[in-house]
């Protein structure tokens, strides 16, 4: 390195000479002839890319919404089925008890009446009456049992749907989040994880958010109290953090390659 000093710049030759830099930039970059057709072609290609990205984002957002809708619908349906099955059981069991009580009361009344009126035939009549009432009560019990069987048959399906919903919820909620409390740490975590993904040591996390450019998330971390998905934009040399809740960008941190 020289200690050259001149009136165009600074003593340290490692620093740019502002005037020289400006003169060179103008000479090299401002007088280049550009083909209008090539410029138009390039702009059209970029706009087509933008249209593709926009379409992809809409599709991705739509699929995210569909998944969320399906998940909540599944939960609601499972809940409704449980409520209906429970209510049905409750009504039938209650109805059965009521019928039994009514039957006993009627049998008692009939028996008393027959005892006043006569002997064996009355007892037979009471017996047959009792049997028919018992049979009616049995039918009610059978009916209640069949409702229970229906409910029992439905239970695994309901449980399965419930499990699916719970599993999806569990999958979307990491059990343990690494807390990142500074931009430097965010960059460090992002780049280290990116390297691990590129080496094949780990897989990218499943995140619903899609960034323009089709960037792949490298990590999901806690960042100042929010759960964020972290992306590395190698082109712009930035690390981008978006909330997993609504895909809002909360940090864009530049880094040196």
């Amino acid at each position: 390195m020289t200690d050259h000093t001149d009136d165009l710049g600074r003593a340290d030759g490692d620093e740019p000479l502002d005037d020289l830099t400006r003169v060179l930039k103008v000479a090299f970059l401002d007088d280049v002839q550009v083909a209008a057709s090539a410029r138009q072609r390039a702009i059209q290609a970029a706009l087509a890319e933008r249209d593709t990205l926009t379409h992809r984002d809409v599709v991705d957002l739509s699929s995210v919404r569909t998944r969320r809708w399906a998940r909540s619908t599944l939960s609601i349906a499972a809940g409704l089925l449980l409520v209906v099955a429970g209510a049905s059981l409750f009504v039938n069991r209650q109805g059965s008890s009521f019928d039994s009580a009514a039957t006993e009361s009627m049998v008692a009344e009939d028996s008393a009446e027959l005892r006043v009126k006569g002997d064996l035939p009355a007892a037979d009549a009471a017996g047959s009456s009792h049997e028919s009432l018992d049979s009616a009560a049995d039918e009610e019990v059978v009916s209640a049992q069949s409702e229970m069987m229906v409910a029992d048959a439905a239970a695994p399906a309901i449980a399965e749907m419930s499990d699916v919903a719970e599993m999806e919820e569990a999958a979307s909620e990491p059990t343990e989040l690494l807390d990142v409390t500074s931009d430097d740490d965010l960059v460090s975590v992002a780049r280290e994880t990116q390297s691990s993904i590129q080496r094949g040591d780990v897989s990218p996390p499943a995140v619903d958010c899609v960034l323009v450019g089709g960037l792949v998330p490298v990590a999901v971390v806690g960042y100042f109290g929010q759960e964020v998905a972290v992306y590395v934009d190698d082109v712009a040399s930035t690390v981008v953090a978006v909330t997993t809740a609504d895909c809002a960008v909360v940090a864009t941190v530049p880094f040196n390659k």
Binding site: T21, K25, G214, P254
Partner: protein, 202 residues
């Protein structure tokens, strides 16, 4: 803040929010500089046009991450140089189409750069004559290092990679090249000092 700066910010904001016309205007405004960077780095216009197009596509993809800390033109300039560097690296890679041994039976690493297709150099035959004369009057590697750093804004390590020398050598060449160029452009060079040699590590 002047109105031009404000209008650029507004243009960026509109483009970031999905305004297609704003994005088109933004790309239109940046194309000439992007192409100039590409043509200086790639050497021929056809390749430069391809790389300028790729640069515009990358700008479109990454615009959402542009946060305005640098000026838009600086950012686009950087995207252009990165795009061209990527293309140069891609070209230098030997395609892995054959067995991993050469004719002498020596194993060949397909990921090693192909040294014979290394950086072709910066051309300045079409720049202003006094600048071209000054650049031609100093050692080629010094002039090239200055142009890569001061015109194309490459990092030292990127220049070192392109020129296949150490970073320290790059810094040395830039410093000495700037000094010699400044003297040439002031027109006060002394006879016999045109071709300094030595004093650097390969």
């Amino acid at each position: 803040m002047d109105s031009e700066q404000l209008s650029e910010q507004e243009l960026v904001a509109a483009a970031q929010s999905g305004d297609r016309a704003a994005l088109s205007a933004l790309l239109e405004a940046q194309y000439n500089r992007v192409f100039a960077v590409c043509v200086r780095m790639m050497g021929d216009r056809h390749t430069a046009e391809d790389q300028a197009q790729e640069t515009l596509i990358r700008i479109t993809r990454s615009l959402s991450t542009f946060d305005g800390r640098a000026s838009l033109s600086t950012w686009c300039h950087r995207v252009a140089t990165t795009t061209c560097l990527d293309e140069m690296r891609r070209r230098r890679r030997r395609p892995a189409t054959s067995p991993l041994v050469n004719d002498e039976g020596v194993s060949v690493d397909p990921e090693q750069p192909h040294s014979t297709e290394a950086f072709a150099g910066i051309e300045w035959s079409d720049v202003r004559s006094d600048i071209a004369d000054a650049l031609n009057a100093i050692p080629r590697e010094f002039a090239e290092a200055v142009v890569l750093r001061d015109v194309l804004d490459l990092e030292y390590n990127e220049i070192a990679e392109l020129m296949s020398v150490a970073s320290g050598t790059v810094k040395s060449r830039i410093a000495r090249g700037r000094g010699m160029l400044a003297e040439r452009l002031r027109g006060n060079q002394t006879p016999g000092d045109e071709r300094p040699t030595g004093g650097e590590n390969p």
